[in-house]
């Protein structure tokens, strides 16, 4: 019987604050990668960055097993945001989305531009100057306003200017998708199970097509893979007071275990293992409703001759928007579930037929 799983350390909250307040939009994840690399520099493990920018940590098994289980854990470094495309004069710039963002979400928002977090605003006309029937804006309608003297160039990334905030059991921040997965992975490295050959991947370009995880899984060739992510909770009642039947996940109901999403059917053995682990420890958990969305597991499980994979996510409201909301208890339960599941993972699990 493995020991009781630990809880998240106070350092995890400090890292989450730091990581959610950097600009690290898909394709330019360097600021987040640098923070993670600095945080892991004391780990007795090899850290490498591959050609796409994925940060990989390998911690060999500390057991005498002839062939320890090779386990890949992946969390993505990138976040959704904007790319500045071309100047429109007087400190104004056109922008295009990177990842799943709507123009309506960006309207009237303060943003940070580039690694220096230069301030800017995607402005909206005041209501008394709007004419005609209101309509949702398109990206062509929007202009980023950084002022005439701010050094901004086309190609730079920007994202919402949202400071991290914690109120008791609730965290409000941008980019919880997937900085909460990144910090969970950092915590799992700190408490790594000694019997597995552990590969931790901080992947890039997940928000634009799961690109980083694809090459990572090919290179590592693991026996099993876990994607650690953050998934939308759409659990607010509608105008009629009824819960949306497609709520995906709910806050306060624990980690979300994936059975199927748009890109993946999770390996049933890993799903059963996670469920059994949660029930054995009395940890809350929920099954994420099957349907849309995808995680790095979607790319990983199809590499080489097939890699049994599963995703576990922290539920959060308001993802892909200026600010998301999650519960500390859900995050802690997610970490504890993954910790316990990894410590209980053995090759015998994979000897069952899927």
């Amino acid at each position: 019987m493995p020991p009781t799983p630990p809880s998240l350390r106070p350092a995890a909250f400090r890292w989450l604050r730091t990581l959610t307040e950097v600009v690290a939009v898909s394709g330019d994840e360097a600021p987040a990668r640098a923070i993670v690399r600095r945080a892991l520099r004391d780990q007795a493990a090899r850290l490498t960055t591959d050609a796409l920018g994925n940060l990989l940590l390998h911690r060999p098994a500390q057991s005498t097993a002839k062939r320890p289980l090779r386990v890949l854990l992946a969390a993505h470094l990138d976040e959704v945001g904007f790319m500045i495309t071309h100047p429109a004069g007087e400190g104004l710039y056109r922008v295009q989305p990177i990842g799943g963002l709507t123009a309506a979400t960006a309207l009237g928002q303060a943003v940070w531009v580039g690694p220096q977090r230069l301030p800017g605003v995607i402005g909206a006309a005041p209501v008394h100057l709007q004419r005609g029937t209101p309509r949702l804006p398109t990206w062509d309608d929007l202009r980023l306003d950084v002022g005439p003297r701010t050094p901004v160039e086309p190609g730079q990334r920007a994202t919402f200017a949202t400071p991290f905030r914690r109120e008791g059991n609730t965290i409000f921040a941008k980019a919880l998708d997937d900085r909460v997965g990144v910090v969970t992975l950092m915590e799992l490295i700190h408490h790594a199970p000694p019997h597995v050959d552990l590969w931790a991947a901080f992947t890039v370009q997940e928000e634009v097509g799961l690109r980083g995880a694809r090459v990572v899984a090919h290179a590592v060739n693991p026996d099993v893979a876990f994607a650690l992510d953050c998934t939308p909770a759409r659990d607010l009642p509608g105008p009629d007071g009824r819960l949306d039947p497609a709520f995906n996940t709910r806050l306060g109901h624990g980690p979300a275990i994936y059975i199927a999403d748009r890109r993946t059917i999770s390996d049933p053995r890993l799903v059963r293992h996670l469920q059994a682990t949660a029930e054995r420890l009395g940890l809350p958990y929920q099954f994420r409703q099957a349907g849309g969305g995808a995680t790095d597991a979607g790319a990983m499980h199809l590499q080489r001759a097939g890699i049994p994979s599963v995703s576990v996510s922290v539920p959060a409201r308001g993802l892909h928007s200026p600010v998301a909301t999650m519960r500390v208890a859900d995050w802690d339960a997610t970490f504890r579930l993954l910790w316990a599941a990894l410590h209980a993972l053995t090759p015998a699990l994979l000897e069952q037929t899927p």
């Binding site: 039947p245 199927a260 059917i265 099957a290 349907g291 890699i307 037929t353 899927p354």
Partner: protein, 327 residues
């Protein structure tokens, strides 16, 4: 394979439940019926890979789908009711209620949610399992008893099972000229997930697929396509790309020389298992034999036994034909 045998087998296989990702029962059936000169293994995704005993490397890969479209139970509004999420492109039921069968044996009846004003895909349907209950994530399939009628089999999943049976017949009877591996691919209904990783592990020179395809022969269809009971189809293209021209020409020649009635197919719909196989490793030339199926993905599908038989003979002839199709 005579017609009564085929009708019996197709009905038997229609009764086996194998929604995507949960193909175990069908895999077990196949393993129990494998010819003695073969060896089989199940890979990490659930593909059943069959090789002649002693095979070191394969040149030809034959692929057929193992799975069928299905559903997963989702939380419902109260005890005894669940919602369903489709696994693969399961067709929405029509006006009448339809039945589903969960893998634990529980039956459910679909009914429209009266509180959802407009059609909203599967969210607008409730599944009545009362007084039983099913856990969230429990897989299900259409609950339809197969019927044999006038040379056709009607039932759930008969399209994919027809493709599987044609392939299985060739596995049992063909004497391929080249080392051949057989993949009964899991998760094919959800974007062709199974066959590509299996092919990566086997490294063949080329692949032949057998799949069901929507028959487009209803009265009044503006753009007709393949017709049921007119022979299996030879796909000239897949969605968004051409089939390998050398393999297509070779399959056409084999059919001509064997005097088999086949038809050309240019699919109009996007089929789930369209994407990945030709892009394995450094590229895998691929061609597809299709079996016309009416109401593909619905609770009541229909295939013509003659089409299945011809597809089996065509595949067998292709594997036994002289010459290198890629030359």
């Amino acid at each position: 394979m005579n017609t009564p045998d085929l009708a019996f087998l197709l009905s038997e296989l229609s009764r086996v439940d194998a929604p995507s990702g949960h193909e175990g029962p069908l895999r077990d059936w196949l393993q129990a019926h494998l010819p003695p000169h073969t060896t089989a293994r199940v890979d990490g995704l659930g593909n059943l890979i069959v090789l002649p005993i002693g095979t070191q490397a394969v040149e030809v890969l034959v692929v057929a789908p193992l799975d069928e479209v299905g559903f997963l139970a989702q939380p419902g509004p109260r005890a005894g009711w669940v919602r369903l999420a489709p696994l693969g492109p399961a067709a929405l039921p029509g006006a009448a209620a339809a039945r589903v069968r969960f893998v634990d044996g529980t039956r459910g009846v679909l009914t429209r949610d009266p509180t959802v004003a407009k059609a909203q895909g599967w969210d607008a349907w409730l599944c009545d399992v009362a007084p039983a209950s099913v856990p969230v994530g429990q897989p299900a399939v259409w609950d339809t008893e197969p019927i044999v009628q006038a040379g056709r089999v009607l039932g759930k999943a008969v399209g994919v099972r027809a493709a599987l049976l044609a392939t299985f017949h060739a596995l049992q009877h063909a004497q391929p000229r080249r080392p051949t591996g057989w993949v009964f691919a899991a998760r094919e209904q959800v974007s062709g997930h199974g066959s590509a990783p299996a092919a990566f592990g086997l490294r063949p020179r080329y692949a032949l697929r057998v799949v069901p395809t929507p028959a487009r022969d209803e009265p009044g269809r503006r753009i007709p396509g393949v017709r049921m009971a007119q022979g299996p189809g030879l796909r000239r293209r897949e969605w968004g790309r051409a089939a390998d021209a050398r393999l297509v020409a070779w399959l056409a020649r084999v059919a001509r020389e064997a005097r088999l009635a086949v038809q050309d197919e240019i699919p109009q719909e996007r089929e789930p298992s369209w994407a990945s196989l030709p892009f394995v490793a450094a590229g895998l030339p691929t061609a597809t034999i299709s079996i016309p199926t009416r109401n593909l993905y619905a609770a009541h599908q229909a295939v013509a036994l003659d089409d299945v038989q011809t597809a089996a003979h065509w595949l067998q002839a292709a594997l036994e034909a002289e010459g290198d199709p890629l030359a």
